[in-house]
Symmetry: C2
Subunit: 203 residues, 2 copies
């Protein structure tokens, strides 16, 4: 019985492996991707940082521009600047969330400064991945010109550079242009039960 079960399992897994090997053999292309993380759930920024840290682990130069959370002393910022400043540039351009500043002109100026820095980093062919953290918020409020951002990604991004754009409410035109899009959907959140943001989890 045990032997039969094992034999059936091995046969089934061998079939899955063969199908997968065929599928992977067809995938030989490499290109710099436009990657979007959106949705209301957790994990958009932390997964972006996870990719940045993978780049660092592979010795690939990379960069982060924080569009919104810049005023926060986040764990990611501390970690990147303390340990990996040689491989990863970190630029915090935002002034905190917009409902904290209550100054539209200042928010717009911060978003535009962030975008200028982002263009410079993306144009640099040495840099293999640029994370534009929470840029979707700046696009949603029209602090940045969507067409300008799309045109730049289409025409000026070096072919092998990955650009990761995070934040809720990604514009449909950006989703259309992107190669890899994930929607983080909130199924359950402990804020509803009176639990506050905690270190390690939210920041």
């Amino acid at each position: 019985m045990q032997t039969d079960d094992n034999a059936r399992h091995a046969e089934k897994m061998a079939k899955i492996k063969a199908a997968r090997d065929r599928m992977m053999a067809e995938k030989q292309g490499e290109k710099g991707l436009v990657i979007v993380h959106t949705g209301k759930g957790k994990g958009k920024s932390s997964s972006g940082f996870g990719m940045i840290l993978r780049c660092i682990a592979h010795g690939m130069p990379c960069a982060v521009v924080q569009f919104i959370k810049g005023a926060w002393d986040t764990g990611e910022r501390r970690l990147l600047t303390a340990h990996f400043a040689g491989l990863c540039q970190f630029h915090a351009m935002g002034e905190g969330f917009t409902w904290e500043t209550q100054d539209k002109a200042r928010d717009i100026a911060a978003a535009r400064a962030g975008w200028e820095k982002a263009k410079e980093l993306i144009r640099d062919p040495q840099i293999r991945m640029v994370l534009l953290d929470e840029i979707n918020i700046a696009l949603r409020y029209d602090y940045l010109d969507l067409d300008e951002v799309l045109d730049f990604l289409r025409s000026e991004k070096p072919p092998m550079t990955h650009v990761v754009l995070t934040g809720r409410n990604a514009k449909p035109e950006l989703v259309a242009l992107a190669d890899l899009v994930t929607e983080m959907e909130q199924v359950k959140h402990p804020f509803r039960d009176g639990i506050k943001a905690q270190p390690g989890v939210e920041f």
Copy 2:
């Protein structure tokens, strides 16, 4: 005009800020969370690693048990073991994806060894977060007993310890028990266009 627009903006943002401050003031609780990342999209593991790196940045001892990808030389593993071994333990228990091994008995043994290690780490009150990477796969194939895992999380997890469980097809009973659940939904994936897995992005 410009002044009016700014005044309207400031008023609107002040209202949002007041509502948000009220909401946050009600959230005073802290507790160790059971966190689940599931769904077919990217970002489940990388966001888990993002949280582990936040813990490291805050000086919080933490640990990772990889249930499935153990045989891969992933960037995360390299980074954690090279830089942060003092704060973060890393245990790779899996033998690679199941369709690679084609040996059910070995897969089950690896999953159980992973779970024994996981229990030991979660019981240690010094450790503030334990990431059980891809454990949902082991649960889905019944390599681990779901009731045993749920009972342990309910009765033996120290109250302030966060446990993060990742992988597609999270069991509904686990979702019911969890405090924070995110479903990573795949909107678009470049594998469909013949692009292979690339360093920094997938591993």
